[in-house]
């Protein structure tokens, strides 16, 4: 499903070249619940960005559902992200002027789905993340944990092939973290949704089904549990 081959990424930081990724090969199959772990600066977020089509590799190819995303134009890539990838960010990044319901519905509106389908799916997803009673609240009226659950519902709204989550629990307390992980695991198990997340949170690592450890831009270990 996701196949990244020989991924290299080099940044120019002033006069210094930074090798963020040095030849990563990774394959993630449908239904996986994978954590990419490693210390800060190891390259896990860069890998996630490249897999998510937000960044381009200096060398190597990323194939998602038989599409080489490096060959897509900017607009095609945006469209690809909309229809194939769900994103959950560390600081939630919900649209502040929209309610929980509108945030979840937003991507479906961009996909031009009809109203009935939007309403049905929004209700279902907000119920799945336990926020069916918060649908009319705006992000600033919700806790961090609630916002991150809305972000998960939003990521799933467009029916993506997989969800990429960058440090999804970094800003959450332990109760919210456990709650979010329960939801993500349940969606993974019951609806076979693929989750790939970067983290250095041990609570997340403990519950991941596959753990890929990255260090100095290389895969150090790849453990399936």
């Amino acid at each position: 499903m996701i196949q990244a081959s020989n991924i290299h990424k080099t940044y120019n930081d002033g006069k210094v070249k930074v090798h963020a990724l040095r030849g990563i090969d990774v394959e993630i199959k449908e239904g996986e619940f994978t954590a990419i772990v490693g210390p800060s600066g190891s390259g896990k977020t860069t890998l996630l960005n490249i897999v998510g089509g937000l960044d381009t590799p200096t060398l190597g190819e990323v194939h998602i559902s038989d599409t080489n995303i490096a060959q897509l134009s900017e607009n095609e890539l945006i469209d690809f992200r909309l229809n194939h990838i769900g994103f959950v960010f560390q600081s939630y990044n919900l649209i502040p002027v929209l309610t929980a319901k509108e945030n979840v519905e937003f991507l479906m509106l961009l996909q031009k789905r009809d109203e009935e389908e939007r309403n049905e799916r929004t209700t279902k997803l907000l119920k799945a993340v336990g926020l069916e009673d918060q649908i009319n609240k705006k992000p600033n009226e919700m806790s961090g944990g609630q916002q991150q659950r809305v972000a998960v519902a939003r990521a799933l709204a467009s029916k993506p092939d997989f969800v990429l989550a960058d440090e999804p629990t970094a800003n959450l307390d332990s109760k919210s973290t456990a709650n979010l992980l329960d939801i993500m695991l349940r969606l993974n198990e019951e609806e076979n949704i693929t989750f790939v997340f970067s983290t250095h949170d041990q609570r997340v690592i403990d519950r991941a089904k596959r753990v890929i450890t990255v260090e100095d831009g290389k895969i150090l270990s790849d453990e399936t549990r």
Partner: protein
């Protein structure tokens, strides 16, 4: 959905939106008020000299304007047919001559204006310029003197002025007429040298029976270019000349042209300041929101749609700013139209030296408001090209990293 997003974004950060809208309001207020003041000043000059004294178009015997002698006069029958023209409301015959007037031991050269009292009352509102004494009546013939003449010669109502000058075809012009009123022609230069009498009296004084030197062409509206063409087409231009106010008063036209150019230059500076000020606001807002734009693009919103949201926000704020700016500007413009700025001191002296009234009212011409509101609206849209360009080139990763 995009409109909803744009609308709510405006109200999300009220202070930010208020800064933007306020800068537009200020820009509209300043531009409209400044231009209204400038156009109001021109309007006042024209009103004082042209519409309430000379008229926009005059007919003379050919060569009269070059050589203002009574020999260059014409008979009213030569322009009789003009009364039937569509755009011409009336023809006011005048005699314009010169004579030396004396009272007691004082003498002064004056410009004599012989007019049809009824026509001048109806159309030029000459009766409303009487500040002392009375206007002409059937029983009260005599003279209306400029208030400057009165002051210089120390005259009073009822005094008799003695005239001495040259009449038609070299005849001697002499006569004595009583003063019935004092007029304020709103222009100091005119006030100092003008004496008005009835056409009949002037014809008698200058021995110019049934002839006039000038016919003021009255218009139904201020479109004097059309009226001039119409007049030229209807008369014998081998014998008569048709002149508009710009030809008769080239110095006024030049003054207005120079002042208008100066005003345009000042306005350009103002618009530059407004543009940079608005650009500063847009620059700040765009930088502040690039993270948000990055998120929208990252999750799958096409850049064009993000641009549409940004443009909609700008348009809504620009409309609000421009409309509010016009509402704020209107009372100021109206107030200074009713209560014109009264120049004093050196400014007053300078303006009066040019022969104008030292008053600057604002103009209520709606085209000033619409033009400048429109220009500012366009400026707002133009400075937002930066935002559009920024979104177009936005790298979501870099934007979200900030």
């Amino acid at each position: 959905m995009l409109l909803k997003l744009a609308w709510r974004n405006i109200f999300r950060n009220k202070r930010r939106s208020l800064i933007t809208v306020s800068s537009i309001i200020f820009a509209v207020l300043f531009a409209v008020f400044m231009r209204s003041l400038q156009y109001g000043a021109y309007g006042n000059m024209l009103k004082n000299i042209v519409s309430s004294y000379m008229g926009y178009v005059q007919i003379h015997s050919k060569g009269f304007w070059e050589e203002k002698t009574l020999d260059n006069s014409f008979s009213l029958s030569e322009i009789e047919q003009l009364k039937k023209q569509e755009g011409i409301s009336y023809l006011s015959p005048r005699i314009e001559g010169f004579a030396l007037v004396s009272f007691s031991e004082t003498s002064k050269p004056v410009a004599i204006l012989g007019v049809d009292p009824a026509l001048e009352k109806e159309h030029i509102k000459l009766d409303q310029k009487v500040v002392e004494g009375n206007y002409f009546s059937d029983t009260k013939k005599g003279l209306l003197i400029g208030k400057g003449v009165k002051e210089i010669m120390k005259l009073s109502i009822g005094d008799t002025l003695v005239f001495l000058g040259q009449g038609y075809q070299g005849s001697m012009a002499s006569g004595a007429y009583p003063i019935v009123g004092v007029i304020d022609l709103k222009t100091p230069e005119l006030n100092k040298r003008t004496v008005v009498m009835t056409l009949e009296q002037a014809q008698e004084l200058f021995a110019l029976p049934d002839r006039v030197t000038t016919a003021v062409v009255g218009l139904y509206h201020d479109d004097w270019q059309d009226a001039q063409q119409e007049t030229v087409a209807a008369i014998d231009t081998n014998m008569l000349e048709v002149m508009n106010w710009q030809e008769m008063l080239p110095e006024l036209r030049q003054l207005i042209s120079i002042d208008r150019a100066g005003g345009t230059f000042v306005l350009l500076i103002l618009y530059s300041i407004i543009t940079f000020s608005l650009f500063g606001t847009v620059l700040m807002l765009t930088e502040e929101r690039s993270f948000e734009y990055g998120v929208l693009i990252a999750i799958g919103m096409e850049k064009n749609k993000v641009i549409i949201v940004a443009v909609l926000e700008t348009i809504i704020m620009a409309i609000a700013g421009v409309v509010a700016g016009l509402f704020v500007a209107f009372p100021f413009v109206l107030y200074f139209n009713i209560n014109p700025i009264n120049l004093s001191g050196q400014m007053q002296e300078v303006v009066e030296r040019f022969g104008f009234e030292a008053l600057i009212p604002t103009s209520l011409d709606p085209s000033i408001a619409t033009t400048h509101a429109g220009i500012i609206f366009v400026i707002v849209l133009v400075v937002n090209i930066y935002t559009l360009q920024k979104i177009k080139n936005l790298n979501p990763i870099k934007a979200m990293r900030k």
